[in-house]
């Protein structure tokens, strides 16, 4: 059950593009044609599906506070959390190189059409963002991490596919000249994001706030002052507890 919940939540509610704006650069740059968009989207799903579980293992057994305990008791007090950026990005860069080699070998036409954007997946925020959200949302098991990687990849894929289809059609419309190209794409994405917000009540039946609200800085101070207060309180308690620890 929690797998299904996470799956739909990552695709629709916490959609990479529309809720957290990750991977916008390649989203805007590669969405001129549906066929290239499909290729890049598939590559993103694949890379996310590989890197999120690997980074989950790294986080669980190396980076977390006390994660090194499997090496022996004397390592139990180590907290390597500050290294997570560098380790995550190293994993991602390696995996992207691998994907590049595989795609070049098996589908040269896709390789040519992706061009410069394949190596740029390494610096696609969606990929690193997937791993960082996996860490900050404390996904509990390896299976769920894999699920999270795949489903947020699918969410990104859907987004780029939708905008590419719209941009192919919009070429025939009479858009005001200064808005042509980039400007109108931004505004359409904004409108699509508003549409995607309506998925927010999907898992809760609309009775309560979606769980993503707390983790998304965007929403702090948005929905009723209670949440804002709660956030401030939790921030303060965390602060106090860290101070007392020291």
């Amino acid at each position: 059950m929690e797998h299904i919940e996470l799956f739909f939540k990552s695709i629709f509610i916490d959609n990479m593009v529309f809720a957290t704006f990750l991977g916008m650069c390649s989203y805007l740059a590669v969405s001129k044609k549906v066929s290239t968009a499909v290729g890049l989207g598939a590559a993103v799903i694949f890379v996310l599906a590989v890197t999120v579980p690997i980074n989950w293992l790294l986080d669980q057994y190396i980076l977390r506070d006390g994660a090194l305990v499997w090496l022996g008791e004397e390592y139990a007090s180590y907290d390597l959390g500050f290294l997570s950026f560098i380790l995550f990005i190293a994993t991602i860069a390696t995996m992207v190189q691998l994907v590049e080699i595989v795609v070049e070998k098996f589908s040269p036409s896709l390789y040519n059409s992706l061009g410069i954007f394949l190596p740029l997946i390494a610096v696609n925020c969606a990929i690193l963002g997937g791993s960082l959200f996996m860490q900050s949302r404390e996904i509990p098991t390896l299976g769920l991490a894999l699920n999270y990687g795949i489903s947020s990849g699918i969410g990104w894929f859907l987004a780029i596919l939708a905008i590419a289809a719209i941009r192919e059609k919009i070429r025939y419309s009479n858009v005001p000249a200064p808005l042509r190209g980039l400007g109108i794409t931004f505004i359409i994405t904004g409108l699509m994001a508003i549409g995607f917000m309506s998925f927010g009540g999907m898992l809760t039946g609309g009775d309560e706030e979606t769980p993503s609200l707390d983790s998304n800085p965007e929403n702090i101070g948005v929905h009723s002052e209670d949440i804002q207060k709660k956030n401030i309180e939790t921030a303060q308690t965390v602060e106090v507890s860290t101070i007392t620890k020291q």
Binding site: L120, V123, L132, F186, P217, N219
Partner: protein, 214 residues
């Protein structure tokens, strides 16, 4: 400017307007949008990026002759990641609640396309001083858009600026609220960031016709 030659000051001033990284080069949009609901977060983000890009450009430019071109992306990522870790640790030490608010978005500076874009396009081919100026200029252009968006979203969305109630108090109905003004809570939601940037692009391109796309 006496301090900088004409060519050098162009490096700083160009990205602020006609070659802005966000509205013209389409770089670094990811993190630009997610944290602009409040002006304070936007300013912190802008300063962090200026720091990372300024220093990072100098480091890459100093190393440009010894980096093998095949592994340059990984070298660049390591340099940025190290700088971002410094920023992250400083924020955690001195502004803990703010760093909670920015959550993963500080980490995402690593994959901010502006940074890699400037490394590739400028620092790999120019000396340290010029690269520094280019880095600061581009990051400032990015920060400028961030601050404009943050300004409007916080002002129209919650009626405050940096937390000060500039439009009066919505609860006790003072200032503008006394004559029936209401906050537009919609401005705080994420989609509005996109639309605000879309509008900025519209204004910029209608003022400068050369920037219009076919």
């Amino acid at each position: 400017m006496a301090l900088l030659s004409k060519k050098d000051s162009k490096l700083i001033l160009d990205p602020l307007a006609d070659n802005n990284p966000i509205t013209i080069q389409v770089l670094g949009i990811c993190s630009a949008l997610a944290i602009t609901a409040q002006l304070k977060a936007s300013i912190v983000m802008a300063v962090s990026v200026i720091f990372v890009l300024g220093i990072g450009n100098v480091v890459i430019s100093l190393m440009r002759n010894i980096i093998p071109s095949k592994i340059r992306i990984i070298v660049q990522l390591v340099v940025v990641a190290a700088l971002v870790i410094i920023v992250d640790q400083i924020l955690k030490a001195f502004a803990y609640s703010l760093s909670k608010e920015l959550s993963v978005f500080i980490g995402l500076i690593i994959t901010n396309c502006i940074i890699m874009g400037r490394f590739e396009a400028f620092a790999l081919g120019n000396g340290p001083w010029r690269s520094f100026l280019d880095g600061v200029g581009n990051a400032a252009g990015y920060g400028l858009i961030l601050i404009i968006v943050g300004f409007f979203r916080e002002l129209l969305g919650s009626g405050t600026l940096l937390g000060f109630k500039v439009l009066g108090d919505p609860i006790s109905k003072t200032g503008l609220y006394a004559i029936g003004y209401e906050n537009n809570g919609f401005m705080l939601l994420s989609p509005m960031a996109l639309i605000v940037i879309g509008l900025i692009i519209w204004v910029q391109r209608s003022r400068n016709k050369e920037l219009i796309e076919e």
